[in-house]
Symmetry: C2
Subunit: 351 residues, 2 copies
DNA sequence: TTTAGCACTTGTTGTTGACAAGTGCTAATT
DNA sequence: AATTAGCACTTGTCAACAACAAGTGCTAAA
């Protein structure tokens, strides 16, 4: 599996050439780039094919990288790359400074991401399975609406409005709100969810009937699965790989069902950046695509993920540093908004 | 512009045939369907073409309906159609009965719509320009979050969470909340929006600085434009008209930007159902599509719109009664949830 | 008024041949 | 021993062409 320098160089050039043109790369082209005869290149490419890094669409075509080829490239070439200062500055300018809402911040970051890369980008709100309840608020609105607000320990807020006649007598709302907090504060979402039936049966048996649907709705809130926001999907139509209606269909399916996007958030290595190339996504619909995600964390807790969907021949050299920088900035802004003290200290030291 | 019965019949058959096959309809096919010789049909079709109801893609092809052709069809053939009882029953079964949230109800209806028609469907939350404030609530969450909740007179709830250190001292939240209600209750959204700058300058000049961003965020909330939920977009990929990547691109653009979908909600005739065929949408991207919308109203106020996007050769005969029935059911459910007394009265009488 | 018949137009499909791009292998070169 | 020139071979693309199918408008007869 060890590659000598020349093979490395050839693999690198094939990948970058194919990334740029979407055309299989032949020996003649490489011979010009590398100052070797085409015959030599052919020998080397045959070797790289045997090693599993390149493949041929058909006998008389040039080579294209395999998933393993891209994987090698991402692992060996990209790691240390960063954006140029002026690229960073231009992103800084795009990210507005005075946004009070996390949601707007994240949407903005996602939009910048797709605009800068010309691929599709997305954001996923986190699964809240392993959060604990920090606070529950019940707010009566008008005559027959009740808003249930849930604050999780990672700072996430979920809310829902239920409509019903006499959902709860006015005077009971506050009392019941206190009771809920007393009972549930500090508890794990998952635990509440698992024990909701006995809870209703044992504790609420003899209270107002109207409370049960409320509790069920609260429970719904606990399990609301993550939401996905997609931007720049139409960028993808320019890609030659989506000319095939099969591939296009798969892409749209991913974008529409969003299941794969949600699932991928759950997997991944330790770092905040994860790259899934083709089959590595383990979704058949995504086998011709690459997804790169950046998990946002505050105090070690996930608070959201942004990501990029592009073709396997994605411009890794540009995209990875870009998502890294945007993700870092986003994280920084969110931490600042959250009022984390560490962040303030660091800031002061810098100035 | 008057059509004799035979022309009507021919136009009708052409439309239904083309709807079914997406292939231009020739005289031979019609001659079999109608028991007339192909030559006669050809004469009649030439007349219908002169009248603007049919056109030919090229000299040697059959005829396809023009926008005017479909318009005539929709205006003259469809109006009185309704679903069969068993079709209604099957929709009733799909619409769940015990949903407390409007949002879930609407999403459900939208999904049923696309599943039943095999086109794309969508829902648009209403513009809130002409609403008035019924209530404003400020809710402190945790240490540095504040939720702003806005209840409009049409029953719509908008809310947002802002994150900031010391956004407002605890003790002031309630006082300021009262003040906001005192000032703004009953006011028109648009008026508040237009007068926010003088309001801040005159009224809030000498109060806590942290209030200004809060007011601006409230203002944002007032103008948040409508949200769009799309379902079944991938259904559309099966359509032969989307084989052309030009058309596909336009469709995706509509789905992604959503501008056209939002705009169309604002136009339309008096009734709750509106049909926009091709150019009638006045969006170039939509000129090969038809959109049908159903405006939900409660007490004469719009509370949302559901719609269908399909090809111009949409199956009007099926789709119009379907969206009508689903829209009616949705409306009924929402009115019931809202606790309207009329609805209850009606129910009692029926039983 | 309707229809049979026919010449005409246009799009589709399949074949063929020329050509371009690229390969692997062998033998000569460095 | 590594590199390269040369060549036979494979495959995909493109343009031209012919055969054909579908449908029309028009004329003249029923």
């Amino acid at each position: 599996m060890k590659l000598d320098d020349r093979k490395k160089k050839i693999l690198e050039v094939v990948i970058e050439e194919y990334t740029a043109t979407a055309e299989p790369v032949g020996s003649l082209k490489l011979s010009k780039d590398l100052g070797l005869s085409s015959a030599t290149i052919r020998n080397e490419m045959a070797a790289l094919e045997k090693l599993g890094f390149l493949e041929q669409p058909h006998t008389s075509a040039g080579r294209i990288p395999t998933t393993e080829g891209y994987r090698w490239y991402v692992d060996h070439i990209i790691n240390e790359k960063t954006l140029l200062p002026k690229e960073k500055a231009s992103i800084d300018k795009m990210l507005s400074d005075d946004v009070l809402r996390f949601e707007s911040l994240i949407k903005e970051a996602t939009q910048i991401l797709s605009r800068l890369t010309n691929y599709a980008s997305y954001a996923v709100s986190p699964e809240i399975d392993d959060c604990t309840v920090e606070e529950i608020k019940l707010v009566k609105l008008g005559k027959n609406k009740l808003m249930i607000i849930l604050l999780a320990d990672n700072g996430l807020v979920k809310e829902t409005v239920i409509n019903n006649e006499n959902v709860l007598p006015d005077e009971n709302v506050e009392a019941f709100n206190n009771y809920l907090n007393y009972k549930l504060k500090g508890m794990n979402f998952r635990d509440i969810y698992d024990n909701i039936t006995p809870f209703i049966e044992n504790e609420l048996n003899n209270i107002n009937d109207n409370i049960v649907p409320l509790i069920l709705e609260l429970n719904n809130l606990l399990t609301t699965n993550s939401e996905v926001y997609v931007d720049g999907a139409s960028n993808m139509l320019a890609l030659p790989e989506l000319k095939k209606s099969e591939t296009l269909k798969k892409f749209l399916n991913v974008i529409e069902t969003k299941d794969a996007l949600k699932e991928l958030v759950k997997t991944g290595y330790d770092g905040n950046i994860n790259v899934y190339i083709g089959q590595e996504t383990s979704f058949d619909d995504l086998k011709d695509f690459t997804i790169i995600t950046y998990k946002q964390k505050i105090n070690e807790k996930e608070v959201g993920t942004i990501g990029i969907i592009g073709p396997k021949r994605m411009d890794y050299k540009k995209v990875i540093p870009t998502i890294k920088y945007i993700g870092d900035m986003l994280q920084e802004k969110m931490e600042k908004k959250r009022g984390g003290k560490k962040e303030n200290d660091r800031k002061r030291k810098r100035e």
